[in-house]
Symmetry: C2
């Protein structure tokens, strides 16, 4: 047996950075360390005057690297066969779109003393919504005249790359003037690790660029200079430092630079992989493959699946991200999702908070226990899971929740279960849409807190969806996926697929549909779909604008105050 080799995955989340050391032979998680960002509130720098603002200081990312990487490596020392010189690769994933303005040396402007306290010079965290007007402007300009929104559902988001850059151009001219380029967090970290000193040397993630920056091979990469100049004169300069092509996460960004290596307690020269977003490398760590849908179930869900580039794939209506190689090389990466899942259960358990069921986690347990004793269909309730809008397949944030079937005997656990069932029907709707466009879904691998800890939800998902639900073996699939990227970039495995074969897996005890339950849910799903279609923008009955009109009324009343 050959000497073991190891790789490191570094996962930049919203509140912390996690480092995982992995055995490249079997994916065993050798050691891990977490560093909470010290800045702002839970790592997020806000603005009391503007709830849309959410930023992070790049020094927090670097502090995270310097702290969590050595800590995990030290801890790994106890593992049989581990040696620092057996680390062959480092992979990186992060939240996104989280672009950072940098100077010509690819150094974040926020590291310059004159900008260190300037919010516009910080990293614009994925959930920053200050650029909503700019997003609408980009959507408007792209319209039918340009192809750029064809792959992302026709609407550009305030969370995305160009919205934020355009916002900075408009609102923060000093930062805009100083910015030579904008680099996604998942691209900045590999550049930092490999000692990049010029903007053009930054390797760009095709995952980030394709999902958020309107990058696509069909139109030769980024949007044209003409398109960008039409948004704001000079905006096209940010195309110049963007080196093409953008790359998949199995590719080498470069060797670990000696000076950085010294601060991390690592030998120089270790292969650093190109970065990618957390959900996409999370899908890799969960075993994404053709026919395997990976669901990351938390407050919302992110659903990822791949399909071979070799076969034609139509645009799938309502599925907003189809990006070649964003998850695995040689494959389309397809991303879908539900705008709220755990958030809906939490809303009911914590905000409506039925008395007698305790508070917080206790409420979920007590409601869940009572809900588990109910049979499918027994409550007569049916809900729509649109409390935070509908991402897939309706791509419409201006939708709301609905529940029907209440009687004077309806109980809190019945409502709680109906809300869980609604998210399961929403999940099935995504799967049905994928399959209708030729993307097979044979099995579902689940990860995230709810998959790990909530057997009631998982069993209902199995019963509703009619497919076995398995749970990822790793509880840290994002960092594991990053480590797999590092392992491949470092040559421990020839391909991502080969690495996944041995480094990922599922827990032995999954959730199998109960046929009698599935039979009831098949009928109930038809009712869900009737409600779903009737209340959607495209409904052809009399209620399709009900949610819109209630939102319009709400907004006009609130603004009139």
């Amino acid at each position: 047996m050959a000497d073991p080799s190891f790789s490191i995955g570094v996962d930049f989340g919203t509140g912390s950075v996690r480092t995982l050391v992995v055995d490249n032979r079997d994916g065993a998680e050798v050691a891990s360390a977490v560093f909470d960002y010290p800045g702002g509130d839970g790592g997020v720098i806000g603005d009391p005057r503007d709830p849309n603002l959410a930023r992070q200081h790049p020094t927090d990312y670097l502090a995270g690297l310097r702290t969590a990487v050595p800590a995990a490596v030290r801890q790994a020392g106890a593992y049989p066969g581990f040696r620092v010189d057996r680390i062959v690769g480092i992979g990186v994933d992060s939240t996104g779109s989280t672009p950072i303005p940098v100077d010509g040396s690819a150094t974040p402007l926020a590291l310059q003393p004159r900008f260190t306290a300037e919010p516009a010079a910080l990293a614009w965290l994925w959930k920053d919504h200050t650029a909503h007007a700019e997003a609408a402007e980009i959507t408007e300009r792209a319209g039918a005249a340009y192809p750029y929104l064809a792959k992302c559902g026709g609407t550009y988001s305030s969370e995305w790359y160009w919205s934020k850059i355009l916002r900075c151009e408009r609102a923060s001219p000093a930062v805009a003037a100083a910015a030579a380029g904008w680099v996604e967090l998942c691209d900045y970290i590999p550049a930092y690790l490999t000692g990049v000193t010029t903007l053009s040397a930054v390797r760009r993630s095709v995952c980030a660029a394709g999902h958020k920056a309107m990058y696509h091979q069909d139109w030769g990469g980024l949007p044209s200079a003409e398109f960008l100049e039409g948004l704001s004169p000079g905006l096209s300069r940010f195309r110049d430092g963007f080196t093409m092509p953008a790359l998949s996460a199995d590719r080498l960004a470069g060797p670990l630079a000696a000076d950085v290596a010294a601060t991390l307690g690592l030998p120089p020269g270790i292969a650093v992989a190109v970065g990618a977003f957390d959900a996409h490398l999370g899908a890799v760590g969960a075993g994404a493959a053709p026919g395997t849908l990976v669901k990351i179930i938390g407050t919302s869900t992110c659903d990822c699946i791949v399909a071979p580039l070799s076969a034609p794939l139509a645009d799938i209506p309502g599925v907003c991200g189809i990006v070649p190689e964003s998850i695995l090389p040689g494959m389309y990466g397809i991303e879908a999702g539900q705008s709220a899942v755990g958030d809906i259960f939490d809303w009911f358990a914590r905000r409506i908070a039925p008395a007698g069921y305790g508070t917080g986690a206790e409420a979920h347990l007590a409601l869940g226990r009572a809900a588990a004793a109910l049979r499918p269909g027994e409550s007569g309730l049916m809900a729509l899971d649109w409390h935070n809008g509908n991402r897939t397949i309706l791509v419409d944030p201006l939708l709301t929740g609905l529940i029907v079937g209440e009687t004077l005997q309806t109980t809190p656990p019945e409502i709680y279960r109906a809300l869980i069932e609604a998210t399961a029907f929403g999940a099935l709707t995504i799967i049905d849409r994928l399959e209708a466009y030729g993307v097979r879904v044979d099995r579902v691998v689940n990860c995230g807190g709810i998959a790990e800890k909530n057997p009631l939800v998982m069993q209902i998902y199995a019963d509703v969806i009619g497919r076995p639900m398995v749970v990822s073996r790793s509880a840290q699939t994002c960092a594991l996926g990053a480590a797999i990227a590092g392992a491949v970039a470092g040559g421990a495995h020839p391909t991502m697929a080969a690495a996944q074969q041995v480094m990922t897996g599922v827990k032995p005890d999954g959730y199998v549909p109960v046929p009698a339950h599935h039979a009831v849910y098949r009928k109930l799903y038809q009712i869900y779909r009737r409600l779903h279609d009737a209340f959607s923008r495209d409904g052809n009955g009399s209620v399709h604008r009900v949610m819109k009109e209630l939102i319009e009324t709400r907004q006009s009343v609130r603004m009139g105050s």
Copy 2:
């Protein structure tokens, strides 16, 4: 000024009997006494094996008379000008349909020792639902072949007179064989008071007969012998002891019999009025008149209005009771209602019971306080008030509640307010239907616990309905209406209308619509109606069977257990 005269109203409710002594000059409530029925659970005799069974023992009614009437009369002694010999009339109202099997002397079978413990020989309380199969059978037989259901919405109820009699024929042959007739509670009490000793001498209430026994002048009274024989051979014998015509409540049933008078502490000979149902005499006591809708708002509502017999009145679709003289002589009595109102608020406050708002009445207060601070339309929520089905205008018990517009920020007071608003929209739907068929509604007089105690609900009703909401001066409109009937039967006033003129009134401070609120609610009502129509049996979109199918699924799952 002439000597004062007084009358007594006796109101037989579900759990107790209330006696009110009234000054005939101005309706002043001189004295009152309440007697709780000692039998069963809160006066209702049930059967642990059959939740549909609800009976009362006639001895409880008689004990109530013997206790509450003397108590009130004694108490009245302190009132200036009161003397027992100045009592000129007694009126009676009761729940209904509450039929009692009697022998040929009009004595309840339950007063015979052999039947005293036999449930079928008791009074079959209005909410007894043991006769649901028989009700379906009657509806089926009447079908299109007979006119008998034309005035009550096309469906005969398990709560009504003939269903219960037929059930007894089928299930309790000994009682059926002993029964010479069936007498409504509101007819039995006047018969008892006037010393009736033969069935044919019992005066029948046109209110009870018209609303519950398919009695109508258009077909000469009760359904034909042929129709009844087709339901069960021999059933037509119960037509024989039913003396025609049925009478309105201003008519004299007879003088108070000497032996009964002695037990009540009253002089003999006082005029006893023909009885009627509580809601209808409640409407009289609240000032029912053309253009004035009386709403009795409690767990459900009963809405009563009158229209002159002299003008033609079409059948009003969805309004299930239109009976000549059931409320006032010379007028159609029109009865509508909502299946649940206070019950819906109670369901949310007590069963869903959001934590942090206290329990019971406290929860209503706390939720109401927070809901009162919200502006119309601000929550973005809209509900349908069908948690217990919809009586008017859909006449469909197989409907359920619905709420739409929930977000992750939706709060319990927002839901509580949306439920109140839903019942207000339901109330407006009834008014719109009445007006569409030529029954003018200029003003609304409200009575019942919610009208008395809940200014939030009343203000929302005013704002939604766009008409002033006034509250009946009397908190005991049913007993007051009975006393008014007694006053007219006893000659203190020439007509019910003349008596109402001086004996009824409203509180000075009503609720006036706030124009800005009404403007928002007018828009929201359009949304309510779109939902209302879409989810009703007659909806022409894709969701009109959603509630039905959920109920069918619920029932099949529960029965399959």
